[in-house]
Amino acid sequence: MSDELIPKVKQMIIDSLRIEGMSPDEIDTDAQLFGEGLGLDSIDALQLVVAMEKEFGVVVPDAATGSTVFASVRSMAAYIAENRK
């Protein structure tokens, strides 16, 4: 179920963070998004929170939850699959 969301999550990351010159295929599904990997930070996290709520109706309430949800594309997709109505 959540695997079907993976391409959509990758596109959402690219669109919401305005990552130029990168296609969804170039984002590793299991790579760390913060720190290493895509090198995202807390400013990006809030942008992703807003995008997830807008696109999937899923709320990430705080940074502690966010650190688990935004660990990778796969974890984001799993969280969306579990929490969307």
Partner: protein, 278 residues
């Protein structure tokens, strides 16, 4: 219309172009003008705090990036600055040279670090909360909002115990994240007013040319002139950075492209957020 944006000090020593020959030249200028190499942690010099080293490093990186862009034949129509980004911004505008930008960064940074010896100060980064409730929390805990970066990104400054209490209250009130870190002095707050006399004396020792490229400041979004620069350099330390308003003002004045000239991408990310609200 193109605007170069000069960010404030970086928060880490990562992402430094240490192997770049041109960057090494700027580090040498820094050593000659301040006696300090921001890449070396010389613990024998008690004047050099971690914050001062980061402030100098930020200025070095911005000067290097600005020089690279100039070599590539790029010239901005406007320049904007955030916090300590004012010093390399002044250099890029043609008002002062690189050595003076580094000297000012160092001397003002050291003056503020001495302020920090009297009390323990901290900064608090609050993300995902709007302005009004955070202003109330700041007032409740006797701290100040030092940076209004976007509608939902703020930096608090004040005494450490008060910052800790304010951050706890912000988290309890629904902030997405609220993180604190130590600093030398509560920059961009009225708490700096006690040392402005010393800063005025430092600034009075320099002369400023008329900027060749218009430089928009972060408080009232005016274009700085040779006559207004000295007062601004003192005033800005005691007043908040209004980046959200600055960016919106630049957009309304016709800026279509923004180039971040310094360490990191924080300003570009703030702009991305603000754009999403426009």
């Amino acid at each position: 219309m193109i605007c170069w944006m000069f960010p404030g000090q970086p928060i880490t020593f990562t992402g430094v172009p240490s192997d770049d020959i041109e960057f090494q030249k700027i580090i040498r200028v820094c050593q000659e003008s301040t006696g300090c190499n921001p890449l070396e942690n010389d613990i024998s010099d008690s004047d050099i705090s971690q914050s001062v080293r980061l402030q100098l490093l930020g200025t070095c990186i911005s000067l290097h990036r600005s020089s690279q862009l100039t070599i590539e034949g790029k010239v901005p129509d406007l320049i904007a600055e955030h916090s300590m980004g004012i010093y390399p911004a002044l250099a890029a505008s043609g008002s002062i040279d690189s050595a003076t930008a580094l000297e000012l960064t160092y001397r003002i940074g050291v003056a503020m670090a001495k302020r920090g010896m009297q009390r323990e100060y901290a900064l608090g980064c609050v993300i995902g909360m709007s302005c009004s409730p955070l202003e109330e929390i700041a007032a409740n805990n006797t701290v100040h909002i030092a940076n209004y970066n976007t509608s939902h990104h703020f930096l608090l400054a004040g005494e450490r115990k008060n910052i800790d209490a304010a951050l706890a209250e912000a988290k309890a009130s629904g902030a997405f994240s609220a993180a604190g870190f130590p600093c030398d002095a509560p920059l961009h707050t009225p708490l700096i007013a006690e040392i402005t006399e010393g800063i005025e004396q430092i600034v009075a020792g320099y002369s400023f040319c008329e900027p060749l490229i218009p430089l928009v400041e972060h408080i009232g979004q005016t274009v700085l002139t040779a006559a207004t620069i000295p007062a601004f350099l003192v005033d800005e330390l005691c007043r908040p950075v209004y980046w959200d308003t600055t960016y919106r003002t630049l957009r309304s004045r016709g800026v279509t492209q923004f180039q971040e000239v310094g360490a990191g991408k924080a300003l570009s990310k703030f702009n991305r957020w603000i754009d999403s609200e426009i």
